[in-house]
Symmetry: C2
Subunit: 154 residues, 2 copies
DNA sequence: CGTCGTAACTACCGGGATGTGATCCCGTAC
DNA sequence: GTACGGGATCACATCCCGGTAGTTACGACG
């Protein structure tokens, strides 16, 4: 029995995340998210993204939809990339000025607001990952039977 | 005894808020924040901003510093403008997708995070107004003895 | 080998936002 | 009336971002 597909080609990624190919291309070329399975090597080759890449892309898309600039999203993803091993399902990615951090309770956020000096951008990662997984399942035929590793691991 | 100055000219506003004249000009011309005391009428005239204008400008600046786009800030300010009469010192301006709202407790924010679908941008208005007032006091000579109405009212 | 489909790549363009330098215009002082 | 300072306005340039369309190149197929 063939193993589930765990890599995704560019156009599939666009469909799953809800972005244009141009955005994906620009984000790859400017080193925001390069495909970690297989990067492109010129015309005719293909980019292959991992599930983790998709999580990052999904977070970026959520931030952009919320009105956060691409520049700020870049910084946040750099931080997230260093903490992907942690339990994301219950974490919140918090952007505070140029810093990012993960919080795991509402109290932590309230505390940040009280001690902070203005603005927080908060990404609840649970819902983001859930929506990603749901989209992967819904588009499974189109994505060649791709199986969300997080869902499978649970 | 002369009454305290309660309006601010363009360059003073730039100094207080920490933005360039170009930004102030662009924001006025594009109807983000027009001076409510006296708008410009061509070269040689002067814009005069009220304290409320300064609060709005300060919130915008805080949002931009946090990486929020000007477009998203526009929406937020439209909402804030309709609720300025409320107790801002203890309120949090929360941006959720295209909607904005004011919350007054950490519990409300935690609840929004649980029920929401991704990203919140939160402006703690207390610290923003406090920093504005502190800057006005510190620059009082430059701002011709301007007195922060909120501080005076408290 | 030629053709085709697919995806990557490239170039141009436009919109948003802002920097920079120059010019315009008003109010004030002499 | 002239000069000046301050602020508004204008024009051009730059950067970021991404849309659009055309070109390039690879692998599959006959």
């Amino acid at each position: 029995m063939s193993s589930p597909v765990t890599s995704f080609r560019g156009p599939q990624v666009c469909k799953v995340i809800g972005i244009t190919y141009r955005q994906l291309d620009y984000w790859a070329r400017t080193n925001l998210v390069r495909p970690s399975v297989q990067d492109a090597a010129g015309s005719g080759t293909q980019r292959e993204y991992s599930y983790t890449d998709l999580v990052e892309l999904k977070v970026i898309k959520s931030l952009l939809d919320a009105g956060v600039s691409l520049q700020a999203a870049r910084k946040a993803i750099e931080y997230l990339r260093e903490h992907l091993g942690e339990e994301l399902g219950s974490a919140n990615l918090v952007l505070q000025c140029a810093d990012s951090l993960l919080t795991y309770s509402g109290d932590q956020i309230v505390d940040l607001l009280r001690r902070g000096q203005g603005v927080l951008n908060i990404v609840a990662l649970g819902p983001v990952v859930e929506e990603l997984d749901a989209t992967l399942v819904a588009l499974a035929p189109a994505a060649a039977g791709a199986e969300p590793p997080l869902a499978a691991a649970q």
